[in-house]
Symmetry: C2
Subunit: 454 residues, 2 copies
């Protein structure tokens, strides 16, 4: 029987980052994953990477359509959805192959198959048993299902990425991260897109000014938005689906070629035979952990989407790395979710970090917000991407930067300029001393801070 | 006679930023500039903005040539140099008009003409006199001339931006910021470009690994590089210039259609009649100032390219703002050039901040450098821009981040992610706590810091 220091169930961001850390600490590590085509997890295979790769194509296409503004001529420009999917697959292959060989080079072992616990020290991988002193459960998540009549007719993010959508009229159920990204993408592909969201705005985790800017740009691009409304039922079959939506009591009935369910994700624990290990699950099915990724069973840890934390690759990395160090007995700080970047690769992009104004208000924290628009940024004018703004939020009266949010061209990158300030509680007066080069988009940070009355 | 609280000579970044600060402090301010077409100074009219605008076109063109990698089809793509220049002009006009009306809205007065001192309180603007309690000299800089036989046949950056270059074979004399940017630009326009540099590498202010990466990419793109060599003489006439280059004693003779002199810039003080004001000039012609932009004459200040400091728009902004606050009697910190970003918009871009490894070594400071390559960054793979790397330099043994440098796709933006760390002396162990979103280019910062053995 195979014996390891640590067996990691799942080869996504939490799992492979933990494996890397443990390998560096000379532990004998094995990753269990369904197949070599699943290495990299949801992120690489059916999440961040394919979506962002296709969005990158759509963004280039958009810029190419305006190329005369840059002094460039071009004959008929055409974005072919099949070719974009193929290009995205090629990039996934590059990244998956690079990741796999890098992990192998680090001495990390792989076992392909489905893992389930036999005891707290033993698992079965398909029919083979394996033992380890410690385990990290990083089995990830699955798309949640719509809880309405006819839910099975809807696609989920995994399905639409795998099989594509060849119809024209698409309903996106859910206006969070995933819904906004897919709505942007399929609109860029030329589909008629409608987004239905239960809450009163899209990207409702952010402040209203961000959501409003997003919705304005969505509408400009021809995306139809129905907020404060819930899906009642789906009927018919793929290619011709009748959708019934309840908008504050009024019923809207419309036909769509496809419905994409983007109503969140849930922890994937049902195949783990968790009972045999003795670990405690939350009612949601997620594995219960503390700040050091420890479960109630001393030698079993969990990290990534499978625990009750923001389902993001970058939190998974951090959790994986903390779990690895905890196993190796290295003292670290526990996980801190206060300065996790929130990034949405829609058109326009949203980037945010730290607390929102509304969350601060609800906690009774007094804040001040400084705001600058990209239209006043020279590089944004040069790049022809002038929509949107950056907002920097400080607590008052101490002037500590507690949050920031941006909407527009490069928001997903630019928000990280505020990450050190938010993470380390830098004051506005201190951050003002930092110099930014001209002409860059980054300069919007100093332009925004310059508005502070100090 | 017109009387002001403050007269500012020059409407470039130093001048207009000072004017804005003074106007906010309720001072009666006037900017003297040659004409309304010169508002924004060298940066907007013959420096950063037109160069970066054209480079943005070239960058888009490059991406469009590879669009099939993104699943996009396009008929004959053509970049037309005249159209690019026109597009760049249009953006300059937008920015100049926006700046002018913003300054007017802030109550700032303008006088157009050439300024020269009559006394320390009075200047002549063409033939009209004007008085002020304080002055800020922000008259900027001019391209330096080659000091060789036939130098007059060469163009300088102002000339080539104004008139363009319609030949094919271009020699760029000087491999610093300006030389590298123009070499990249005209190569992208399809010209045969050769760069001659006296020092042993291009971008010689940076560490060798950065210069080598730049040179490698330049050569891949077909730019010819001759380092450790100096121009001896030019002869002939425009369109057919014989160039003689001395490469360590060996003479190289070649014919070019044009020669661009990119051998730096010098302070523009010759028309100021500085003597009448009593201010002291350095032998270079620059105005002598202290850390608060004060000259030796109590009511006269100077800022921007005209003083002896890095000739960059972003240092000019800072200097202008410090001068304004000094005039208003507001206590500020003096200027600190230790964390000024150095950005070169060549292909590939260079971004750097703080100290280089070689400068540290020459000062006896022990450093450690962490390095990550863009080829290992998921977003860079998605964007198809995988060349280059980021390097983070810390002093040892205290682990304080003292510098950083990047070469590659978005280096000019990304370098600012390290700006707070360098400006505030953050430790590697502290910076490691900052979280970056996936998949972003910004993530390369955490990937680089993760390599630290702590």
């Amino acid at each position: 029987m195979k014996k390891y220091d640590v067996i990691i169930i799942g080869g996504g961001p939490a799992g492979y980052r933990a494996a890397e850390s443990l390998a560096a600490l000379k532990k004998k590590v094995c990753i269990v994953e369904f197949s070599d085509l699943r290495i990299g997890g949801t992120c690489l295979n059916e999440g961040c990477i394919p979506v962002k790769a296709m969005i990158e194509s759509a963004r280039l296409f958009q810029k190419m359509k305006n190329c005369s503004e840059f002094g460039i001529e071009s004959g008929g420009i055409k974005m072919d959805m099949a070719a974009v999917r193929k290009a995205s697959s090629a990039k996934m292959d590059i990244l998956r192959t690079a990741l796999y060989s890098s992990l192998k080079r680090q001495g990390i072992d792989f076992n392909f198959g489905s893992a389930s616990f036999v005891s707290e020290n033993r698992i079965k991988i398909d029919s083979q048993d394996a033992e380890a002193e410690s385990f990290i459960i990083a089995s990830g998540s699955l798309p949640s299902k719509l809880k309405i009549t006819g839910a099975d007719i809807a696609m989920d993010s995994t399905g639409i990425l795998e099989k594509g959508f060849s119809g024209n009229k698409l309903l996106v159920a859910g206006g969070g991260y995933i819904g906004c990204e897919f709505a942007s993408l399929y609109r860029a592909f030329g589909c008629e897109v409608t987004v239905v969201e239960t809450l009163s705005s899209l990207a409702a985790m952010e402040d209203d000014d961000i959501s409003r800017a997003l919705e304005r740009e969505f509408k400009k691009k021809g995306i139809k938005i129905i907020t404060g409304a819930s899906l009642k039922s789906l009927s018919g079959k793929k290619g011709k689906i009748s959708v019934s939506v309840d908008k504050q009591g009024a019923l809207i009935e419309e036909e769509f070629d496809g419905v994409l369910s983007a109503v969140g994700r849930r922890a994937r624990t049902e195949d783990l035979n968790a009972k045999a290990s003795g670990i405690e699950l939350l009612p949601s099915g997620a594995v219960k952990t503390d700040d050091f990724m420890r479960t109630n069973v001393p030698n079993i840890y969990a990290a990534g989407d499978v625990i009750d934390s923001p389902m993001l690759a970058h939190t998974a990395y951090r959790e994986g790395s903390i779990a690895a160090r905890a196993i190796a007995g290295i003292t670290t700080r526990g996980i801190n979710y206060a300065s996790v970047p929130r990034i949405v690769f829609s058109f326009p992009q949203i980037g945010a970090i730290g607390i929102t104004e509304k969350a601060a208000a609800s906690k009774g924290i007094k804040t001040n917000a400084l705001k600058s628009f990209f239209a006043a940024n020279a590089k944004a004018v040069i790049a022809g991407e002038t929509e949107g703004f950056l907002k920097i939020i400080s607590s008052e009266p101490d002037g500590v930067i507690v949050g920031a949010a941006a909407v527009g061209g490069e928001a997903c990158e630019l928000i990280h300029l505020l990450a050190p300030a938010v993470a380390r509680g830098m004051k506005v007066s201190e951050a003002k001393e930092v110099m930014y080069g001209h002409p860059t988009l980054s300069e919007i940070v100093s332009d925004t801070l310059a508005k502070a009355v100090i």
